[in-house]
Amino acid sequence: MDKPSKVLIIGSGPIVIGQAAEFDYAGTQACKAMREEGVASILVNSNPATIMTDEDVADVVYIEPISLDVVTRIIERERPDGLLPTLGGQTGLNMAVALHDAGVLDRYNVRLLGTPLEAIRKAEDRDLFRRMLEEIGEPAPASEIVTDMAQARAALGRIGLPAVIRPAYTLGGTGGGIAHSEDEYERVVEGGLRASPIGQVLVEQSLLGWKEVEYEVMRDGAGNVITVCNMENFDPMGVHTGDSIVVAPSQTLSDKEYQMLRSASLNIISALGIEGGCNVQLALAPNPETTPWAVPPGDRLPPYYVIEVNPRVSRSSALASKATGYPIARVASKIAVGRTLDEIPNAVTRKTTAAFEPALDYVVVKIPRWPFDKFPFGDRALGTQMKATGEVMAIDRTFEGALQKAVRSLEIGGRSLLWEDPAWKEGHEERPMHATDERLWSIMAAVRRGADLCALSRQTGVDVWFLHKLANIVAMEKRLLSEDLTPGLLRRAKRLGFSDTQIGTLADRLPEQVRDLRARWDIRPVYKMVDTCAAEFDAATPYFYSTYEQENEALQEPGKKALVIGSGPIRIGQGIEFDYCSVHASWALERAGYRSIMVNSNPETVSTDFDTSDRLYFEPLDEESVRDILENEAGGADPDAADLPPSIVQFGGQTAINLAAPLHASAAPIIGSSSETIDLAEDRKRFEAFLGELGIPQPPGAAVLRVEDAMTTAEALGYPVLVRPSYVLGGRAMEIVQNPTELARFAQQAAEASGGKPILIDKYLEGKEVEVDAICDGERVLVPGIMEHIERAGVHSGDSLAVYPGVHLTHAEVEVIVDYTTRIGLALGVRGLMNVQYVIMPAETPAGDSNVYVLEVNPRGSRTVPFLSKVTGVPMVRVAVNVMLGQTLREQGYEGGLWPRQPLVAVKAPVFSMSKLIGVDTYLGPEMKSTGEVMGIDATFPAALAKALISADLALAAGGGVLLSVADRHKTQMLPVIHHLHDAGFRLYATEGTAGMIAALGLPVQRVTKRLQGHPNVLDVIADGSVTCVINTPEGRYTGTLRDGFYIRRAATEKRIPCFTSPDTARAAVDALVAAMGRPGGPSYQVRPLAEYRDGSA
């Protein structure tokens, strides 16, 4: 095959559940691979918070919507001769298929690289897939589609019990179930046929409780095939693999079973003809004592079934890459442009090639990170719909150690395996044994109470082998509780992954005392290398994990160096933006002549690519492991504080910044803003006094302890007020309260959540919200840009549409903001990045000035750093790192003040994953809910906005139906929006009060009732497709309309139609539609490389 000369790479768009940072990692590797192969790369992605959209990663970068129209225009302009569709998740794959189907690839002579279209279809189409499996003799679970009971009874004869019944086209799989008896089967199928809008159900052989095993396999154009890694799920079949705890390599499979499934996987990738990587999921017969099946006689192998194939790089392949050191995406990209496996050098050993299978000499455990700490009312049950936003990985030489380190890495309020829900009292059977995010802990609780492991396995489907390992942990807990702490016992506990904190809790000591004992007894972790080859070859990878053994391979890195503390798992409020910052921090250190040392626990990211930093420690981001690493880098036993390398805590989000105080307390140096600066900004009382001294206003408020005081304070401030516990993170448990009744209820809850600490009551200023990121060197403050939020204050900044530059700000407002930012940065003693959020209240008299208030200051890199870096061209992280290393802004060629406004407008839009989180309310408020972001960039605001909305799936098409249910206080401001909607040809549907208002305007409106009050009701018009958009602004949390609104919003979310809960967002979307309406052919925007917008040629 001829090597292409120019290749288009499609990214995966915004971070959503099921499609997270792993595709930034994959895309970035693909771009690097193209460069190494001498192939030009064109990249398109709508997500600015990615390394792949950095302008030095690909040759040409488009931050544009991944739509057929846009990508076609890019192809038209760039004329690539190849398209790499397999690196951008399902988004990339779907776009490739769409381009093919639209004839675009043929028209412009673009060759699909890697995976042939036929393979994509075979892997994705259920029937084609089954037919292919049949042809190559690989078993698929029996299944049949039935539409009546007679068919169902016939199907049962062929499929057998237990059977899974899945109704077609029901939301979240409602109406289905598992039948264990014929009676149950009749009942469930009947119910399923009724529930399905097309009266069709799929009856499938049940493999619930079977072992779920995955293989990551690769194939090149010459037909060579290898396995990179196999992985075994702790959670058996029935839980999405993205929601499963996963261990690599498999632990409970014999060699015969391992090889049988390996061969099956290789047969499949060969039959599909994939040139690149592929993920194969299989179900293997489990322990028949816990999940029965017919055991064969003699030495016959157990049955297995092929469940699913992903004909592309996936989340699992990112995990497999990090678990083995084998760079799957990079190798897959090179194969796609014609290389064979044995021609591709192994970047790890630098001696061998990519044609081998990694040998692991450690255990890897992955645990998903779920968002239920943010959404306590969401449905926590795990099943076939993935719910995790991210994941953590840990490596150790014992399973117990890897598991416990992974738990530490989750960063759920310091929760170790010791945690138990207070509700799981002795004797109560309240522990969730079905799959939930808390099942690991409830199994631990059961083991602690002496549960029979076989019975526990029958109940959960978790293999007894894993349960024995948990029992080992419990046995150690008991020893630590009852025995004296001796060097031998302590070492054993560390080998099983117990943290100093856990040991302290059990052995009745402070964590620091345990640490001291470790130092005295010389019980320190050693660091071993991830080298793909189990030490068979000398490897060059600077990729390490800790364990408690003999030989330390991570000898002190020589020379000037600094530690970059990463941001851990992707979660709501702490997304890929912080990984972007961490990666750039590492690169900036290298440019400045420092050795960069990265610490992180997230396998999906670019930061944990072993060639991002000079050295990578794959470790939990807690005090213990960071201090151990620092001591290791200082040369091991009892180092002087002076020998400890400095740490950078500004870029890893709240995870890293939270380590500032403990590191400071242990005399570990921090570069950049000091622990004191961080504390001043975060301690509300101190910060209030600080702003007072500067004469910079803040919304008035107070901290109170009792509900009664809350009421009087709120009266004095005037409603609405913002209420929150005093130690909030990312807006948790924060609420805007409109009246005393709501306040009484919420203050009570907040007081309880505060656990005796004060609750904060602030005047809620519903003004224009503005945020800035700035870099301060102690002398000057550089403000690269100002971002204005479309939604007024009250919607979390991470959930707001943000516009650069502040197109609606007056000159005076900009001046005040720059002035305040400068004074705050200097007075706080910020060294490096900070983020300030402001609210602007309109002038009280037409001649007066508007008032600017400071909402909060975060002395660290923020979520908007990648966005702002890309639109302004200021390499913010690099500049900040240089400042931390002692270079002034001026020495770097920057003056203080506001960076020149760029000749472009960029809009950042949030993206949500709400359709995957059953039971979660989608209305926007002070608590962040989005999982990702997209950027629309163009020369004008309407064009930029249009593109942001398209990428965020919020763009409206003219002429549909809209359901309006608007809070009384928003009715007036919604009038123009309603007129616009009518003018745009929308049919208007509205609930009682809103319909009355619309009718009064003289516009036609269809009145719909509330959900339980006859038909057509609000849910009917959503379900039957009458409406294509919902505008529902809630009154407040504690009123009936919020509950009713909840059902409207959920219905819209599950129907995947835009649902606006802020009048501001709705207005923006309608304005964008109106702007597009005047033009033939829809919205008008440009499609250009990022750089062209900045240089003004757009």
């Binding site: 409970t252 015969k256 391992y258 090889q259 064979t340 001696k351």
Partner: protein, 372 residues
């Protein structure tokens, strides 16, 4: 619990916990990187005379059973692991690793930093080691220095069949008769040949070419086995007498023996090839196959006669992995096409061999017919 020690020839000592039989042992310390298949490895006769180190830290997870054996007993002298699973779980398991070692009178050590040990062997090369639990390291080292080195002993007679037998026992169905010269054969070679429709006769290592030819074989397999091929003059002589008389397949040690027949010398590798992940390139097709390997010696192609070509090479280090005779039906591979443990990707080689056998049976003139 007293410590168990592994004392290396160079004085390095690793301490751990004793598992298996409470006896002393010594042998050449070698490591394998295969992540599964400990029972197959332990019973692989090629590990005779060796102390086996597993680089994967968790061993014994799925217990042991009657089926995953490659010979009649554990062949390794001792077993070194990071962790031996005391509570294995598998529906086929009949005992634990510890019980298995104990039952075979073989000692083991758990709790050793096997990665440090592996790195030691990789850099210094394989060396002799003593496993002990009841003496000081110094005593063990002194004793070790008195013992013959690995390369001085011919282990083949120890592991080979005492007398000829048919596989499976008593059943002699099968159109093609394949004789296996047992230099330390793995059962899976016999299982595969049987499954492919062969009548299999296994003969002891000292069997002469005349004796074998008298059995009227349709083909002969020279099996894998332990030790230095330079000590196997008798097997080389047998092999020499078979070339050109009947189709031949040499596997591992059998390959090395045939190499010597064809004029090549063998040499000792620094730390061998042991694992389930070694890439081998078929020199004719360019295809790369993942192979199971277990060898400490390799064939040097420098002395090969002109009639013999190198058919396969290791992608990592370029060592010879297979030979092909240009005129006679002879094929050899340095690796283990029978797998067990390891990938099943190379089973086609048995079919290729049997194709040769089939052509020989049809008196076909083109004796080298290579088809897959």
């Amino acid at each position: 619990m007293s410590d168990a020690l592994l004392v290396l020839e160079d004085g390095t000592v690793f301490a751990g916990e004793p598992i298996g039989a409470p006896v002393r042992a010594h042998g050449e310390v070698v490591f394998t990187t295969a992540m599964t298949g400990y029972q197959e490895a332990l019973t692989d006769p090629s590990f005779a005379g060796q102390v086996l180190v597993m680089t994967y830290p968790l061993q014994g997870n799925y217990g042991v059973n009657d089926f995953d054996v490659e010979s009649r007993r554990i062949q390794a002298r001792a077993f070194i692991v990071r962790e031996g699973c005391e509570t294995p779980v598998h529906w086929r398991a009949q005992g634990t690793l510890h019980e298995y070692l104990l039952g075979n009178g073989v000692p083991g050590i758990a709790g050793i930093d096997t990665r440090a040990l592996t790195r030691k062997l990789r850099t210094a090369g394989v060396m002799m080691g003593a496993v002990t639990h009841d003496e000081t390291a110094a005593l063990a080292l002194a004793r070790l220095r008195e013992l013959p080195p690995y390369g001085a002993t011919d282990f083949v007679p120890w592991v080979s069949a005492r007398k000829a037998y048919e596989y499976p026992d008593g059943q002699s169905a099968g159109a093609r008769h394949v004789v296996v010269l047992d230099l330390g054969v793995k059962y899976n070679i016999l299982r595969v040949l049987h499954r492919l429709g062969c009548r299999v006769t296994v003969v002891p290592c000292q069997t002469s070419a005349e004796e074998i030819l008298a059995m009227r074989p349709d083909g002969v397999v020279l099996s894998p086995g332990p030790g230095d091929p330079a000590l196997l003059g008798y097997a080389v002589e047998t092999a020499n007498g078979l070339v050109g008389k009947t189709p031949l397949m040499g596997i591992c040690l059998g390959h090395q023996v045939l190499g010597e027949v064809f004029g090549a010398k063998t040499y000792k590798l620094k730390f061998g090839h042991r694992g389930a992940n070694h890439p081998v390139r078929d020199e004719e097709t360019g295809r790369v196959y993942i192979t199971a390997q277990n060898h400490g010696y390799a064939v040097d192609d420098a002395g090969l006669i002109a009639d013999v070509a190198v058919s396969h090479r290791n992608v990592n280090d370029g060592t010879v992995e297979g030979l092909r005779h240009r005129r006679e039906p002879v094929m050899t591979i340095q690796y283990h096409s029978e797998a067990s443990p390891g990938p099943l990707d190379n089973m086609y080689l048995f079919e290729r061999f049997l194709a040769m056998v089939g052509e020989g049976m049809r008196q076909d003139q083109t004796a080298s017919g290579r088809r897959t």
